[in-house]
């Protein structure tokens, strides 16, 4: 059973197809770097996987079950473009809230542990609006990893992170991989992604044009993939 299976997914915005029959299968425990130019459909695909958007055609299953079920959503962690924390709640209040929404056993304890892992224990009672940018990013990462999800969906996670936040994220990702979680990461920052990724997929104008394990070639020359499989640039 695949961790993620997208079968010929189409997504129309009006009459414009952002995804044109994108098919993707990701094994459990893999770390997939989802590459693609701007407008290729990476965010659209991730949002469909995270149950934020319905596909117009096609089916998506996570861990064998439909994305629309509570069961599936309980096992996903999503980190999108926005940081997804409430400015007027403290760090610990934010995490306890999300803990309750995610149905974790002991929200307070889980929140405390998560804050510790991202290095925000000292400021746990500070309002999120008072945090520096890097601290807010780390809080966002804590939220996404709060319930130790089996599947992580990250949309350009390394964009605009400061060094400390990057380090925290990389540590958490490695820990997640070591406990067998599956990760799908869309990214522009090819280098950081390639360091962590076991598999690579290239999305071009709404279609998956390449998917496979990462090779040394890709690691040494990230642009190779675009040149080989991507459409020629105008």
């Amino acid at each position: 059973m695949h961790a993620v299976a997208a079968d010929r997914v189409w997504k129309y915005f009006g009459d414009y197809p952002a995804l044109r029959g994108a098919s993707l299968e990701v094994e459990k425990g893999a770390c997939l770097a989802l590459l693609g130019r701007n407008g290729a459909g990476k965010t659209t695909l991730l949002r469909i996987l995270a149950n934020l958007s319905r596909p117009t055609k096609g089916a998506v299953t996570l861990l064998g079950i439909s994305t629309h079920t509570e069961e599936a959503r309980r096992r996903i962690g999503y980190l999108g473009h926005g940081i997804g924390v409430y400015d007027d709640l403290s760090a610990v209040e934010n995490l306890i809230l999300f803990g309750r929404l995610l149905g974790v056993e002991n929200p307070a304890a889980v929140a405390a542990r998560a804050l510790d892992r991202v290095g925000l224990t000292r400021v746990k009672d500070g309002l999120a609006r008072e945090f520096s940018r890097g601290m807010r990013q780390r809080l966002a990462v804590a939220r996404a990893f709060l319930h130790e999800p089996e599947l992580l969906l990250l949309d350009e996670p390394f964009t605009s992170l400061d060094d400390r936040a990057v380090a925290v994220l990389q540590t958490l990702l490695r820990d997640a991989r070591s406990r067998g979680a599956t990760i799908i990461m869309s990214t522009h920052q090819i280098r950081e992604a390639m360091e962590l990724a076991s598999h690579v997929a290239l999305l071009e104008r709404g279609k998956i044009v390449f998917t496979g394990p990462q090779t040394t070639e890709m690691l040494l020359d990230p642009g190779w993939l675009y040149r080989t499989y991507g459409e020629p640039q105008a």
């Binding site: 915005f13 009006g14 009459d15 414009y16 407008g39 319905r54 117009t56 105008a234």
Partner: protein, 226 residues
């Protein structure tokens, strides 16, 4: 093919309307109590009945859109609601003219006028909201939602306006009680038919416009993406 249908409906509807108006103005005598102005009722009542017909169609297509996500249903919804709103406006204006003639005032807050005005405002809100949403799928989904809520409100509006604290001046329903002269039946029926044909033609025109607009929108997005 579609254009031919639109022309056919439009022309047929106009012809029926002209014939009907001819009958109403030249053949029917003045009414005993109301004088000449009663003739306006041959437009006034068919307008509201047709409005509700089109609103019911719009309700069905709104539900259909939410189930199937096919844009044709959204286009039919907005076309029907626009035409229905126009008919409701016709109903309000003709009613006002009739009221000015009969009761001496342009407006009064009686049962039916008030209900009609509220229904008109409900759907006017729908029409005002649509251009404010840029993305077509979102626009269609929100419109369907609002359309269903608005339709659900219509019976409540009618129930509310019947409450004891609202005065009633509007003449009672004539169709149900059978108080209408039999010679009125034909012009009335033809008035219904004429407005229905014209309304359908307008719906088809609007439908075509909506579909074209979506195509242009998608082509524009396609170009930007490349």
């Amino acid at each position: 093919m579609r254009e031919k249908l639109i022309y056919a409906l439009g022309i047929l509807g106009t012809l029926v309307m002209i014939y009907n108006l001819h009958t109403i103005f030249l053949d029917l005598p003045d009414e005993a109590m109301q004088g000449a102005v009663y003739r306006i009722l041959f437009i006034h009542v068919p307008a509201v009945l047709n409005a509700f017909t089109f609103l019911t169609v719009a309700l069905c297509t709104s539900v259909a859109f939410l189930s199937t996500k096919k844009f044709i249903y959204d286009s039919i919804s907005v076309a029907c609601i626009e035409v229905a709103t126009a008919f409701m406006l016709v109903n309000l204006v003709t009613g006002s003219i009739w009221g000015r003639n009969q009761w001496g005032i342009w407006w009064t807050w009686d049962l039916r006028l008030t209900s009609m005005l509220i229904c008109f405002l409900l759907y006017l809100g729908y029409l005002l909201m649509r251009p404010a949403i840029a993305e077509p799928t979102q626009r269609a989904t929100m419109s369907a939602f609002i359309g269903i809520f608005a339709f659900a409100d219509v019976p409540l509006v009618i129930m509310a306006i019947r409450l004891p604290n609202v005065r009633t001046q509007h003449p009672g329903p004539v169709l149900e009680t059978g108080g209408m002269d039999p010679s009125f039946n034909a012009p009335f029926g033809l008035g219904m038919l004429a407005l229905f044909l014209i309304g359908s033609a307008l719906v088809l025109v609007r439908l075509h416009q909506e579909t074209s607009r979506r195509e242009i929108d998608s082509i524009r997005r396609e170009l930007h993406a490349v």
